[in-house]
Symmetry: C2
Subunit: 342 residues, 2 copies
DNA sequence: AAAAGTCCCGTGAACGTTAACAGCTTAGCA
DNA sequence: TGCTAAGCTGTTAACGTTCACGGGACTTTT
């Protein structure tokens, strides 16, 4: 008798049958089209409720040629910066009604898998927040992803025809190091992040800028490369003190590594800031609670994430409407927060 | 002449036409079906490459009645625990070939929006990692989400017919407090997380367990509620010292708040562990670098996330095959890591 | 030499929704 | 009275893929 299969989700046709109307009319009710009489609308809504009908976004995407999904390529959740970025992206995306398809990259080898997945899922735009620095990147993206969906890159080198939103890492680093110089420090070390990443490289350049502007030397023995983790900051300080024993201040490329530096200094009996000044980068909320409280560079990655979504949203809407858009690259300005460690 | 629209993605039919075969044959090549001659396979693959054809996962999902997507409901990226969980989930999901549709909940008011979105996107399973403690939860889920997709809950109270994977927070807290008691401390305070969350409540119960087992009192003045942030730990210690001045040790419900406690103690001139022992919960990598290094409870949320994906994968596969599955709730055992702060 | 099996390939329908169009009714107007 | 417009509803086709089925060519078996 009952031709509806058990355990089968109700479709728009089931609703139509129950309400005694056509599928098209149900569709009109679902999409708030005006051309439906109040009486029919109510009947349809009752049928929807009774059958617990839920629209199928996949079918809708297929016919509409618009999935309502944007892809996000992130580098993980471990560190403060990426996490803040994701938070901003997520917040703005749900506010504008976009769904997020999340992809985590750990190395350039993941690019192919990620691009394939995003294209298959018909994402309408991509926010690429894996800040790798590679010469092949541009060629690759143009071939693969770009023909299918617009991309906005975050925190990387701007190439031609690419839109990149970022924080001015170089400026931030310069501010940090200038501050150390103003406090009378002259022998300033650097614990950098992985130099394959644009942000790490920019922060290093900012450190060089400040030293050069003050006529101070910057040599390889003043630099150690970490991996953003506290533990690497800890090791970094030990190595740095061996390479560069006369150091009286250190600029650390993120707050988590700076925490390791504070720890190591404490262990070694070095007073901060008396014997060694320390400045970090990120201004995580925890940094105010370090012992001693950390001087650091503040940047608003939450805002950057939000902005990225708003921009991709603009591009996508314009595309749908067949209008041309221009969005341009942009850099947010960071600033220094002075606390006890300098 | 050329009937293919400009800017239009190639479809399986375009490939078929170019290769001189039917769409079905192209489909067979794409899905590695055996019944294709080597010669045809090559012709099709050449056509795919030439047209830069990419399969449309939405169309495939629609006909296959299987989206290959699982929904993840998270509480954000700010704190160590949730971030670890997400990392484990993401890693295992890509390993098993699942796509992730990410939803962030900040309050129970978000449930409706999130469930609607996940159902619309035809997720085949849901990992619910927003650890809220609410009596209405069960009723709600049975009505809404359960009929559409299996759910695994993480870190919450197990109800009937619900599968919950979690860490034994209560045990972890008991271990921490027993350790403090073994070190001779008798007046042990608690800085808890938001008590609307199951994990925070469990940790509080573990603290009570240990005190009760040792015949020690536990009163309201020994407790302060924080919000997981370092800053709230800082404030928490101040409040707690006012309410409970004779305190000689404190169990802090997560490491980030413990950082705030260490900071506040340092500011107040309290020696840790001499005047005040501190034990945290989480064992974030940074905790080993706190000043002093933090004694804390280690739990493996990465493994928990992986496990959750493996279990939902099992359930989904069984469902597809029409087989019954039983998965059962489970608790991972945490352990104590003793460092300098106790 | 017929029957059966294997290999390879194509046809038509279906998944759940919406776009485009057509058609019917009623109202308004000259 | 006839004409136009407005309001509401239904029909058909389409989105891009796969499933179920059928069938031809060739090989093997009896």
């Amino acid at each position: 008798m009952d031709s509806v299969k058990r355990n089968h989700r109700a479709t728009i046709r089931d609703v139509a049958r129950l309400a005694g109307v056509s599928a098209q009319t149900v569709s009109r009710v679902l999409n708030n089209h005006p051309d439906v009489s109040e009486q029919t609308r109510l009947r349809v809504q009752r049928a929807i409720a009774e059958l617990r009908y839920r629209p199928n976004a996949l079918a809708r995407s297929l016919i509409k040629q618009a999935s309502g999904v944007i892809g996000v390529v992130a580098s993980g959740f471990h560190f403060y910066g990426p996490a803040q970025l994701l938070t901003g992206i997520e917040r703005q995306a749900t506010e504008l009604g976009w769904q997020l398809m999340l992809q985590v990259a750990t190395a350039p080898e993941d690019y192919d898998r990620i691009a394939t997945a995003l294209i298959a899922q018909q994402v309408e735009g991509v926010i690429w927040a894996y800040p790798e620095l590679s010469s092949e990147r541009e060629r690759w993206f143009h071939q693969q992803l770009r023909p299918h969906a617009p991309i906005i890159f975050l925190s990387m080198e701007a190439g031609p025809d690419e839109v990149v939103l970022s924080v001015d890492n170089r400026l931030g680093a310069r501010l940090a190091v200038e501050h150390l110089i103003n406090r009378g420090r002259r022998r300033i070390g650097l614990i950098s992040g992985p130099l394959s990443l644009w942000s790490a490289q920019q922060r290093r350049l900012g450190w060089e800028d400040a030293l050069a502007a003050a006529g101070l030397p910057h040599t390889e023995r003043q630099v150690v490369q970490g991996d953003w983790s506290a533990e690497s900051g800890c090791r970094g300080l030990h190595t740095l003190l061996q390479q560069y024993p006369e150091m009286d201040a250190v600029f650390v490329s993120n707050d988590q590594m700076a925490l390791g530096v504070l720890h190591a200094a404490h262990r070694l009996g070095l007073g901060v800031p008396k014997d060694l000044s320390v400045v970090g980068f990120d201004d995580m909320p925890e940094s105010a609670c370090f012992v001693p409280a950390l001087t650091t560079v503040h940047h608003d990655l939450f805002a950057l994430g939000q902005l990225a979504v708003r921009e991709i949203d603009r591009v996508i809407r314009a595309r749908r409407a067949g209008q041309p858009v221009t969005i341009t690259s942009l850099m947010l300005q960071p600033y220094l927060v002075v606390r006890e460690s300098s």
